[in-house]
C-alpha cells in the first residue's frame, strides 16, 4: 500500500539469491494472511450455498444482484465521496503539520513528530468513542451550546455523515502525516535559499518550490487516507449510528445480519476491483509526476 516512490536500488546477481531468501518469511506471512483469504473470498462470491461452503455449485447470481441493485451503487458512491472528503480534509490539515515537522530545526522536532503520530497508539474504536462524547446529542459541544442557551434542540453532529467524516479525518491524520514526512525527501532548505536569491518572495518560494516538491508526499498521504477511509468500518458504523451506508458497513450487514455470505463476498470483490483500479491509475499518475 505504501506508495513512497523511492527508486529501487540496483540489485546484482549474487545479491538476488540472498534477497529471495530474505523475502520468504514475509511472502509466507502474506500468503496465509492475505492471499489465501482473498482466494477464499473470490470463491465464496460464486457459491450457491448461503454459508459459502466450498464444494457446491458455482453461480453468477450474486454479482447480478450486486451490480443491478441501485442501493449498492449508492453505497459505492457514498463510500467514494466519504473517501474523497476525508482525504481532502486530512491532507489539508496534515500538510502544515508535516511541513513544519520536516522544516523544523528545533531539537524538539523528534518529540513533536512522535506527538503528531502518538494517536496511533490508541485504537480507532477508543478514538471513535471519544468523538461520540464530543459530537453526541448530549455531548460536550451540544451540552455547552445548551448550557449557554444558544440552542434548545441538539445540533445534529453525530449519527450522520458529518460525524463520521470528522472522526475519520482525525483518526487518519497521523497516517497522512507519516506518509508526507516520508514523501518530502526532495524538500531541501537550500533550494528555498537558491530560489530567494534568484528573487522569489516567500510566497513564490512556496508556490514554485515547496509545493511542487512536496506534491508526491501530499498525493501519497491522500491515497493512504483514501484507502483507509473507504475500507473503514468501525468509525462509519459508530459515528453514523446506522444511517451511514458505506462499503464496510454494508458488507458487515450482509455477512452478519442477513447472513448472505456469497452476496457479501460478491460485493467485496466488486468494490475491491473498483477501488483497486482507482488506486492503480492514481499511482501511475503519481509515478509520472515523480519521474
Amino acid at each position: 500500500m505504501s506508495a513512497t516512490g523511492a527508486p529501487a536500488q540496483q540489485i546484482t546477481g549474487s545479491n538476488r539469491f540472498m534477497l529471495l531468501i530474505l523475502l520468504v518469511p514475509g511472502l509466507l506471512a502474506l500468503m496465509t494472511t492475505f492471499l489465501l483469504p482473498m482466494i477464499w473470498l473470490a470463491r465464496a462470491s460464486f457459491s450457491t450455498s448461503s454459508m459459502a461452503a466450498f464444494g457446491g455449485g458455482m453461480t453468477l447470481e450474486h454479482y447480478h444482484a450486486a451490480l443491478t441493485d441501485p442501493f449498492y451503487w449508492k453505497v459505492a458512491m457514498n463510500t467514494l465521496s466519504l473517501g474523497v472528503t476525508v482525504s481532502f480534509f486530512a491532507v489539508i490539515l496534515s500538510y502544515p503539520i508535516a511541513l513544519f515537522l520536516t522544516r523544523s530545526t528545533s531539537r524538539w522536532r523528534g518529540v513533536l513528530t512522535a506527538l503528531a503520530v502518538a494517536p496511533l497508539l490508541t485504537s480507532a474504536v477508543v478514538r471513535t468513542y471519544g468523538w461520540m462524547v464530543i459530537l453526541g446529542d448530549r455531548g460536550v459541544i451540544n451540552g455547552t451550546l445548551q448550557a449557554l442557551s444558544l440552542t434548545t434542540d441538539p445540533v445534529r453532529l453525530s449519527n450522520n455523515t458529518f460525524g463520521a467524516t470528522v472522526a475519520l479525518v482525525e483518526i487518519l491524520m497521523p497516517y497522512s502525516i507519516l506518509a508526507m514526512l516520508a514523501g518530502f525527501g526532495r524538500l531541501n532548505p537550500q533550494l528555498e535559499e537558491a530560489a530567494s536569491m534568484l528573487g522569489a518572495s516567500k510566497l513564490r518560494v512556496f508556490w514554485r518550490i515547496i509545493l511542487p516538491l512536496s506534491l508526491p508526499g501530499i498525493l501519497t498521504g491522500a491515497l493512504l487516507v483514501f484507502v483507509l477511509a473507504i475500507s473503514a468500518f468501525v468509525t462509519p458504523r459508530l459515528m453514523g449510528g446506522g444511517r451511514v451506508f458505506v462499503l464496510g458497513t454494508e458488507v458487515f450487514q450482509e455477512a452478519t445480519v442477513t447472513l448472505n455470505w456469497p452476496l457479501a463476498a460478491a460485493l467485496s470483490v466488486v468494490l475491491l476491483a473498483l477501488f483497486s483500479s482507482v488506486i492503480v491509475i492514481y499511482q501511475r499518475a503519481l509515478r509520472r509526476l515523480e519521474a
Binding site: 535559499e193 537558491a194 534568484l198 528573487g199 516538491l213
Partner: protein, 353 residues
C-alpha cells in the same frame, strides 16, 4: 570608500548559543569586477561570511554595502546577487532551461524575452544543447555550469560562489577553474568565492583573504600572500615552507639552531628571536658557502617539472624544489648543498628574547 563596489565593515556573527564568534570583525572592500577568494581551514567562517552578504543569515553586528548603499535591511530576494551553492541546489522539478529562467521569471521579464537570455546564458557555459534536459540527468560538471548560468543570467550585482568546485574530480576542476575565471572576467561581475584549496585560490582570484578562526589573517594579491605572508599561519597555509627560528647575532643574520648562520633582509634587533621561512623553490644547488646547508638526500619525489628533495642537516629537515632541467639531479644518499639568497628568506616575526 565610494569607488568600492562591495564593502564589508566589521562584520561579526555569533551563532546563538556559541561562546565565540564564528566571524570576528571582518572587513574588506572590493572594486567592481574583482574576484576575491576567501581561503581558510574548515570551520573558519567562510560560508558564514558569504551567507551574511547574501542575506541568508543576519549579522550580529557590522555593515555590508553594495554600490555605497547599506544593504543589511534588504531582504534576500531583493539583493540581486547570484549564488552558486556547494551542492548546486538546482531545482529538481524543472529542466535546465527552467532553472535558468527562474530568476528572470521572478523579475517579471516577459516570456518572449526570457528565451533568448536563457539560451545565451546556456551557450556561455556550453550547455546550449541541453536546455530541455531535467537537471537530474546532468553530470556533476554540467550541473555546476547550469548553476553558474542560473546565477549569471539575472545579471547580479555580485556573484557568490561557495566551494563550487569541491564536488568535482581533479581534471574537471581544472577546466572549471579556467571557465569560471573566464566567464567572470568576460561578464565583469564582482565575485567572492570560498575555497579551502590554496591552488584554486591562487590561480583564480585577483585577491585572497586568508582566514583563521573567524578572522582575516591577511588580504592581498596571490603574489603578496605567497611571497610576503603576514605571519606563520598564512605562510603555513599557503604553499610549503621550511620554517626556521633562531637568534639574531648580527644585523641581518640569525643563528639557526642546528643549521648555523642564515642571512636575511629585514631589520631585526640583535639578540631577539626571529621566525624565518624559506620556500622550497628558493633553494638552489650550490657549492658550500654562506647561507648554504649541506646534508644527505633522504627523500626524493619526482614530479615531472619539479624534483622535491629532502635533506637532513643537524637534526633538521629541509625541503627543496629543484627544476628538473637544472642539469645534474641528485640521487638518494648523495650529499648536496642547498643555498638560498638572503633576499629569498621570508621574515615572519620577531620576539624579544
Amino acid at each position: 570608500m565610494s569607488e568600492h563596489h562591495v564593502v564589508v565593515d566589521n562584520l561579526v556573527k555569533t551563532y546563538p548559543g556559541a561562546a565565540t564568534p564564528s566571524v570576528d570583525h571582518v572587513s574588506f572592500a572590493l572594486p567592481k569586477g574583482e574576484m576575491l577568494a576567501l581561503l581558510g581551514p574548515s570551520g573558519c567562517g567562510k560560508t558564514t561570511i558569504l551567507r551574511m552578504i547574501a542575506g541568508l543569515i543576519e549579522p550580529t553586528s557590522g555593515a555590508i554595502q553594495l554600490n555605497g548603499r547599506e544593504i543589511s535591511q534588504t531582504p534576500v530576494h531583493k539583493r540581486n546577487m547570484g549564488m552558486v551553492f556547494q551542492a548546486y541546489a538546482l531545482f529538481p522539478h524543472m529542466t535546465v532551461a527552467g532553472n535558468v529562467a527562474f530568476g528572470l521569471e521572478m523579475r517579471g521579464i516577459p516570456h518572449s524575452e526570457r528565451g533568448p537570455k536563457v539560451q545565451r546564458a546556456l551557450d556561455m557555459v556550453k550547455l546550449g544543447h541541453l536546455g530541455d534536459r531535467r537537471v537530474t540527468q546532468l553530470s556533476g560538471g554540467q550541473q555546476q555550469r547550469c548553476a553558474i548560468a542560473r546565477s549569471l543570467v539575472i545579471e547580479p550585482e555580485l556573484l557568490l560562489l561557495d566551494e563550487p568546485l569541491s564536488n568535482l574530480d581533479a581534471k574537471l576542476r581544472d577546466e572549471m577553474r579556467d571557465e569560471i575565471r573566464e566567464i567572470q572576467s568576460r561578464t565583469g561581475v564582482t565575485a567572492i568565492f570560498v575555497t579551502h584549496d590554496q591552488d584554486e585560490a591562487l590561480s583564480m582570484a585577483d585577491r585572497l583573504a586568508v582566514m583563521s578562526a573567524g578572522k582575516i589573517e591577511q588580504i592581498g594579491t596571490p603574489r603578496e600572500i605567497f611571497d610576503a605572508p603576514a605571519n606563520e599561519f598564512v605562510a603555513g597555509f599557503i604553499g610549503a615552507g621550511n620554517f626556521l627560528s633562531g637568534r639574531v647575532t648580527a644585523p641581518g643574520e640569525a643563528e639557526i639552531e642546528g643549521l648555523g648562520p642564515l642571512r636575511f633582509e629585514a631589520p631585526a634587533r640583535i639578540g631577539s628571536q626571529v621566525n624565518l621561512m624559506v620556500r622550497p623553490h628558493r633553494f638552489k644547488l650550490a657549492a658550500p658557502g654562506p647561507n648554504a646547508f649541506t646534508g644527505q638526500v633522504d627523500s626524493l619525489v619526482y614530479r615531472g617539472q619539479i624534483l622535491t628533495l629532502g635533506i637532513s642537516v643537524g637534526g633538521k629537515r629541509l625541503t627543496a624544489d629543484l627544476h628538473t632541467h637544472a642539469g645534474h639531479l641528485p640521487a638518494k644518499g648523495e650529499t648536496v648543498t642547498l643555498a638560498v639568497a638572503p633576499g629569498d628568506v621570508t621574515f615572519l616575526s620577531e620576539a624579544a628574547a
